[in-house]
Amino acid sequence: MKPAKFEYHAPSTLDEAIALLVRYGGDAKVLAGGQSLVPLLNFRLARPAALVDLNRIRALAYIRDENGLVRFGAMTRQRTIEFSPVVARRLPLLREATRWVGHLPIRSRGTIGGSIAHADPSAEYPAVLTALDGEVVARGPKGERTLAPAALFETYLTTTLAADEVLTEVRLPAMPEGAGWAFEEFARRHGDFAIVGVAAALWRGGGRVTARLATAGAGPVPRRLSECEQILERDGLGDAAIEAAARRASELVEPDTDLHASADYRRHLAGVLTARALRRARETARG
């Protein structure tokens, strides 16, 4: 289990990185935290001609909180997010989700950009991005573009990023003051990717309820549960509405069967976890 040969580049600027990606014309891979890519290299399931390591590009690691938007440089470590006071205050859902991403030593290296670019359907960050209406910024030789989750996630482990594009920034609107949240997850072991996970956020404002719900592990891409959100926004946060939303969640998802769980079981879990997440989010919500 040793990687095949590759050329290695560690540019210190984004422009250099993009130039390198262009030069290899699709045969190079971006290396971020390496927590997903290096296992693939070790198994020789990925065998790029070159690696473009982003770890020396200082300008890609930051957390900025401006005008209601929290912006993360793609190379921000999951561990940094876990302990960031800004995240704790402005995006408690992201913070909670982070605790579910592998283990601390994985999060020491793993990055927010890498997790999203890797697009594992069971991963937590893509679900949070989807739930909170975030977006990502990608830069390539032709310039920069901004993508919403629906435009980014294509299917299992596949995004619409081009081979010479680098995901540079992740943007998440700060959760309103008093919002409730919960990330509920069911995995067979602690630290595993979710069998199913549900990200939920709720807040009240202007006399109405706003709900945000998305799943991980219940289909080829994270799934926004807009219809469930509508049920809650229409019927409020009573037990009956939550039950109805949960039932709808299990109808909406399109999970597959794999080694760890059947599609039916995942469908069932999507409902169970939606209800659990909503109840807990309701408890934490203020106002």
Partner: protein
């Protein structure tokens, strides 16, 4: 081939290796630090865990070239003045190891855990060390050892 210069256990070290060489292989083969173990080479078992710039990380998921300029701590660097670190002492006291193969990764993971959470509950210890697989101990002695080490390492009042 690439040059790698780094600090390991407080000493400046250097070597030359292929850019594909994993950090764990570099530590073991090029620097002769065989205390760091290899158990899966895909990030799950945690046997290869070392501290990179003070934070626990898998050395099987890093390339040696990426560690250029880094400050690494391996299990060989835990003793001070010929004496066991209080965490090592606690592992011995509470039978936190049998075959000892997971132990280096377990120690460094626990050290990092205690740094971010100096007084963890039992559940928090379990969650923290769930980053490392052990097949011998059923984790019982390890959990006890980490909790005891937390007490031993706590700043004394007054």
């Amino acid at each position: 081939m690439a040059d790698v210069r780094l600090t390991v256990n407080g000493a400046a070290r250097e070597g030359r290796c292929e850019s594909r060489k994993l950090l764990v292989d570099f530590l073991r083969e090029d620097l002769g630090l065989t205390g760091t173990h290899v158990g899966c080479e895909h990030g799950i078992c945690g046997a290869c865990t070392v501290l990179v710039d003070g934070e626990a990380a898998r050395s099987c998921l890093m390339l040696a070239v990426q560690a250029d300029g880094a400050d690494i701590t391996t299990v060989e660097g835990l003793m001070r003045d010929g004496r066991l670190h209080p965490l090592q002492e606690a592992f011995r006291e509470h039978h936190g190891l049998q075959c000892g193969f997971c132990t280096p990764g377990m120690l460094l993971t626990a050290l990092d855990l205690l740094r971010v959470n100096p007084a963890p509950s039992e559940d928090e210890v379990r969650e923290g060390i769930s980053a490392v697989l052990c097949r011998c101990t059923g984790y019982h002695g390890i959990v006890k050892a980490v909790r005891a080490a937390a007490v031993a390492l706590a700043p004394k009042p007054g």
